[in-house]
Symmetry: C2
Subunit: 730 residues, 2 copies
Amino acid sequence: MLLKLKIFLLLIVCGVCINVNAQTQHPIAFATKADIEYIKANLKTNALLKESYNEIKKSVDEWLDKDVDVPFPKDAAGGYTHDKHKANYTLMFNSGMMYQLTGDVRYAKLVKDIFIKYAALNPTLKNHPQATSSSPGRIFWQALNDANWLVYTGMAFDLIHDYLTPQERKQIAEGAFKPEVDFFTHDLKNWFNLIHNHAVWACAGVGIVGIATDNKDYVDMALYGADKDKKAGFIAHLDGLFSPDGYYTEGPYYVRYALLPFYTFANSLNNAKPELKIFQHRNSILKKALDGGLQQTNLNGGFFSYNDALKEKTFVSNEIVNAINIAWQVYGANKDYLSVAKAQGRVTLSRGGASIATALSTTKNIPQYYPYKTIEFTDGAAGKNGGVSVLRSGKGNNLTTLIYKYSSHGLSHGHYDKLNINLFDNGNEVLEDYGAARYINIEQKWGGRYLPETKSYASTTIAHNTVVVDGKSDYNGSEDESEKHNAFRVFGGINDSVKVVCAKDTTAYNNTVLQRSIYMIDIKETGKPLIIDFFKITAETQHQYDLPFHYLGTFISSNFKYNSFLTKQETLGSKNGYQHLWKEGDATKLPQLSQITLLNNGTFYTVSSVADDSTKIFFARVGANDPNFNLRHDPTFIYRKNGSNQTFLNVIESHGKFDPIAEVSTRAYSSVKKMEVLYNDDAYSVFTVTTATRKITIAQSNNNNNSNAQHSIKLNDSIIEWKGAYTIIF
Amino acid sequence: MLLKLKIFLLLIVCGVCINVNAQTQHPIAFATKADIEYIKANLKTNALLKESYNEIKKSVDEWLDKDVDVPFPKDAAGGYTHDKHKANYTLMFNSGMMYQLTGDVRYAKLVKDIFIKYAALNPTLKNHPQATSSSPGRIFWQALNDANWLVYTGMAFDLIHDYLTPQERKQIAEGAFKPEVDFFTHDLKNWFNLIHNHAVWACAGVGIVGIATDNKDYVDMALYGADKDKKAGFIAHLDGLFSPDGYYTEGPYYVRYALLPFYTFANSLNNAKPELKIFQHRNSILKKALDGGLQQTNLNGGFFSYNDALKEKTFVSNEIVNAINIAWQVYGANKDYLSVAKAQGRVTLSRGGASIATALSTTKNIPQYYPYKTIEFTDGAAGKNGGVSVLRSGKGNNLTTLIYKYSSHGLSHGHYDKLNINLFDNGNEVLEDYGAARYINIEQKWGGRYLPETKSYASTTIAHNTVVVDGKSDYNGSEDESEKHNAFRVFGGINDSVKVVCAKDTTAYNNTVLQRSIYMIDIKETGKPLIIDFFKITAETQHQYDLPFHYLGTFISSNFKYNSFLTKQETLGSKNGYQHLWKEGDATKLPQLSQITLLNNGTFYTVSSVADDSTKIFFARVGANDPNFNLRHDPTFIYRKNGSNQTFLNVIESHGKFDPIAEVSTRAYSSVKKMEVLYNDDAYSVFTVTTATRKITIAQSNNNNNSNAQHSIKLNDSIIEWKGAYTIIF
C-alpha cells in the first residue's frame, strides 16, 4: 500500500533544531517552520525541487474550492472507496504542505473540510465489509491501510495545526483520530503489539498523530507498545526486525515497504524528541537497513523476490526516494546513493531532497549502477538465525549475482525455501524465485490482495530452487513450526575470484540434514563465473529428493532424450505446490553427466548435473489448478533422486551470446565435459568438474570447519591434504 | 542470414560518375576510386565514420599474417563450418576495404590467400551434407547462403582487383566463382529464375561477381534471368515483388532482408551501368520499398510479424543501416530517416553514411520515433491483389496501431491469415501475430532453420486473429491454392479521428464469404480509439466459425463464469494448428455482452463481444505437441459460433493504467455497456455500441460501396439514411 502522489518529507537539520516546546510548536511532525523557509528559498533555484513542487501543486489545485467525497467504506483494494480514501489522505498531506509553502489559506481550508467529514464518519465505522484478514480495517479492508491513513493525515493535521481553532482541533482529534487510535491500541492490540511491518505502520501512524495533536499518550504507545512496556512499539521494531547488519527479516521487498514508516516516523521523532537520537539508535540501524535493502536489488533496481514479493517493485518507488533523501541529510551525503537518485528522477520537498538534487546536477560521471558487491547478511535480532549470502562477480552490466538463502522464516510473508538459490546475470533473472501471486491494487484480482496461489504455490518448497523431501514443503508447510527454526552458515570464504558459502539445515525435515555448498569461481577466459553447487543430504531412511531449477527463458537443448506429454497433460502431484505444475516431459534414463541448455535474453546458460541410476527428470510448467488464471506459466525442470544419503552436484554456467538482430550465436555449448563425486561421507566430500580448459577438484570437510584444522583424504590414485573447511585445486 | 560485421557500402555520386570503361576500372562494385578518396578525407573529421572504421580495422587486423581456415562444408547453421565461411566472406570484404583505405598490401594478400583456397575447394563441392531444402547450397546448407557468399566475395574481389595478377584473377574467377555461378544458373536454374527473395540474393551475387570480374554474361543473367529473356532476374524482381506503392509481397520482415541485395546490387549497377537509372526504375520503387518497410514497424523498430517473421528483428539491423545510408545519398537527405539512423547508432563507410552521420551530429531535436502514419498498401505487381491497412491513432509513445491484412499469400513465407488483425499499443504488441517458430542461427534448434512448428502451427489460420471455418486453415492449408487468390478491400475511409476499412474474402473457404469491417474511432475523453470489429460470414450451409484473440499479457477477468481444466489438459483439436493449443478453460453459456479484460505492460484492454445461443468460448494456450519445447506458451481465447450466415461483433478497447510501483490502477474496467447487431443481411448491416458516455450506431452497405449511392434502412423504431458505403452516427 502506498502513495499515489509525491510525498513531501522535510527534515530539520539536527543540531540547529530549536526544540523550545515540542508540545506547542507546529509544524513539527515532518518539518519545522525553519525547514519550510529553507524549502521556500531553495525552490527559487533548484529545478528538480521546483518540478516536484509544481507537480504536487497542480494535483492539489484541481481540488481547491471543491467538495471532496469521503465515502462510506465499501470496496476492496482497487475499488472506488478504497482508492478515494487513499487519494484523500495524499491530497490532505499535499494540501497541508501547499498551505505551509504558499501561505494560501484555501489549502488549509481544503484539509480542514475533509477532516471534518472524517470526524463525522470515523466514529460510525465498524469493521470494513470487505475485511478478510485477522487485522481488519475500518476505512479500508485491512488495518494496514488505516495505518497509512493515520500517518498522512497526522502529518496533514500538523501542517494546518495553527490554522485550526482549538475547537476544530478537538473535534478532529476526537472524531477523526481517536476512533482509529483506540481501534488499533485496544481492539487490535495484539496486532498493534506484533513485531511486523504492519505494526511499524501502526506505530508510525499513532505516533505521528500523537506528535501532531500533542498527545504524549499516543507517542508513548507508539514508541513502547500499547502497554508502554517496551515489549512492542517502534523501538522494539528497530531492535527486533533487523539483524545487527541491517538485514530485515521479511526480506528486501518488505524492507522497502517498512522503510517508509521507519524513516518517516524517525524523522518526526528527530524533530519532536531529538533526545532519542533515533537515527543513531543501534549503531545507525536505519542506515544499515537502507544500504542492505539496496544491495538486495538487481541492476534494474528490482528487489530480490524471495518471500512474498512482486517483481515489478524497484528502488524508484516512493519509499526509497523518501528514505534516501532523509538518509542523505541525517547520515551525510553519500555518493553511492546518486545512481539510485538519478534513476528515481525525483526528490522529496525536503532539505535532503534539495541537497541530493543539487548533487545530481553538479556531480559528473554518476555511475550507472549502485555499487553492488558481494555481501553476506545475518538474520535475527542477534544475527544468530542464519542469513542470506549475495555472491557477485563481474562489473557493470556484466554482473552475475547468486543469492543463497539460509535464513529464518521471515514472519507471515516468509516462504518455505531453506537453502534456496536464485541467479541473476546481466540484469536478468535466470534461475527465478516466483515471488508472490498478486496483482496489487487491481480490484478484479481478488481485490488486489495476495491471491490464494501465493500460499498454495509461491510459498511452497517445490516453487523454489532447493531440495524438496518426499514431496512436502519444509516443516510440512507449517508457519508456526518454521518460525521456530532457521538454517545456518557452516563455512565459506570470499575473495576476488572465488566465493564460497556452505550452509546447513537440520530442521525443515525430520531426521534429515540438508547441506548445500556453493562455489562461485571466476573463469578469466570467459569473464563469467562457474557456479559449482554441491547439495548433500543425510538421512537414515529412504526418501525422495526433488531439486528444481525454475528458469526464465527458453529451453534450447538437453544432452538426453526425454518423453513429452504431447496431447494430454497432468499435474506433477496433488498437493504442496505440485498440483500447480503441469508435467510436460520426463526422462528416467539419464547420462551420468546430464546437461540442459537455456537461453535468457541473449545469453546461454547450461545446468550440468550428475545423475545416478535412481535419477529422473521432470520438465514442468506452472499453471495447473489455476481457475482464475492468476499464475505465470514459468518453466522448470526437476531432478528427482531416491536414497537415504544422497548428493546433487550441479554446475551452473553462463556462456556465449545470441544476437537475433545480427543473427549470430557464439559459445552456444557448455564447456563442462565431466563431473564426478569422488568421495562423500559425513566427514568429507570430494568432487571434480572438468571443462574444456581445466579440471577443478574441490574437497570439503563436512563436520569440522575450523580454519586451522588439517585434513587429508586418500582417493584411489591420490591423496588430498588441506587446511581449513575446504580446498579448491585447479 | 546476415553479416556479423559492419558492411561497408560506398556510393558514387550520381552525375559525377566517370564511367570511362566499366569493364576495366576497379573498384566499382560498391565504390569507385573517387569514393575511396572521399571516405579517406571524411575519416579525418567524422567521428561516427571513424568509429566504424576503427571497429572494422580491428576485426581485420586480428587476421593479418594468419592462415585462415577454409573448411570442407559440413555443419548446419550455427555450426563451425557454417559460421567460418560466413566469417570468411565478411573478413574478405572488410579486408578488401582496408586495402583500399590504407593502401597496405597485407590486406589485399589476406583476401587473395583465402580466395586461392576457395578456388581449390569450390570445384570439388557437391550438395552440402546438411542440405534439406529444394535449393541446396554447396558451401552452406542452403543456396541462399551461397548467394550471400557471392555478394561479399564479389565485392572483395573487386576491391583487390588491381592487386591481383591477371593469372590470379583467372584462377579465382574460374575456381572460386564459376562453380557457384554455374551451379546457380544451371543446376538451380529454376530457383535462380524464381521471383522470390532468395533469387534476389542470387541475382545480386551473380551480378556483382559479373561486375567485379568483367563478365557481361553474368551481369546480363543477373539482370534478366538465366535465359536473359527478362522473365526473371533483377529487373523482374523490381517489377514483380513490389506493389506500385512499394509493398513487398512477402511482408515487412522479408522486405528488410531483401533490401540488402536490392540496394547493394542497385548501388553496384548505379556505378557500373548508370544508364540503367536503376534507383529511378518504376518511380523509384526502391525508395517506396524502404519507406513502406519502415512504416510497418512498431515504436521499437520491430517489423510487424505477419508471415514468417522473428519478432526480435528491428530496423537497427545492418540491412536497414545499409539501405538508409544509400537512400540518403541517392534520393536526397530525408529527415524522416534520422530517428532511425539515431537508433541504429552507426553508419556504413560510404558517402551516404558520412553524410547522415554529419546530419545526426548537427540536427537538433531529432524526433524519438519515425513519423508513423496511417497507411494502406496494395499488394501485387499491379496493386490488384488486396493489401494491408495500417491504421494508426495517437502520437509518440501513445500510438495505437491496428494492422488489417487482406493481401495475397506472400510466397513461401506467407501464412493462412486472410482478414487477420493485429494490435500494437503504446509500443507493445497486444493482439499478437505469432510470427514464425525459429531460433535463427542457434544450431541446437534444428540447425537454426525454420522449425517444423512454423508450418504446423504458426502459419495456420487458428494461429491468427481471424475466422477459421470448420477447423481448417484457409485453402485447407494449400500454398499452391492460396497463391492463386487474394482478399480485397471493399470500402473504407481515413480521416483524423475515424479510420474505416472493410475487406472481403471469397476464396479461402468454398462457398463462404468472409467480410470484416474495422472502425477505429478516436475517443477524445480517453485519448484512445475504440476499435469496432464487425465480422460477417455468409454461407449456404452450416459451419463452425472460430474467432481467436491471441494476446500478450495477463488475463485479468471475464464477466462470465467458465469451466477450467485444473488437473488434466487436452489439446483443442488434432490438426490444422489446433493440436498445438492446450485447452485451459471453456464456457458455453455466455452473456449477450461477453467481456474479457487483459493487462499488457501496464495498460488494460477489454475485448467486448456479442454472443448468441450457439456461442462457446475456449481459453487456450500454445505449447501442445511440442516435443522439443520450440513454441512460446502464449495465451488466446477463441469465440466459436455455429450457423450458416453469422456475425462476430467485437469492440477492442485500450483503457486505464496499472502502475505496479505506485500501486495504482485507474479505469480498470471497460466502458462498453451494450452492443447489438440491429440488422444484418446481404445488403446491409447495422450495429450499435453503447459506452458509459455515448452510443455509436454504424450502418454499412454490404454490396454497394459506391460513394454516391443513397441508402436507407428501416429499423424497428427508426429509419437510417446515408450516402456512401457506411455511416457512423454518434
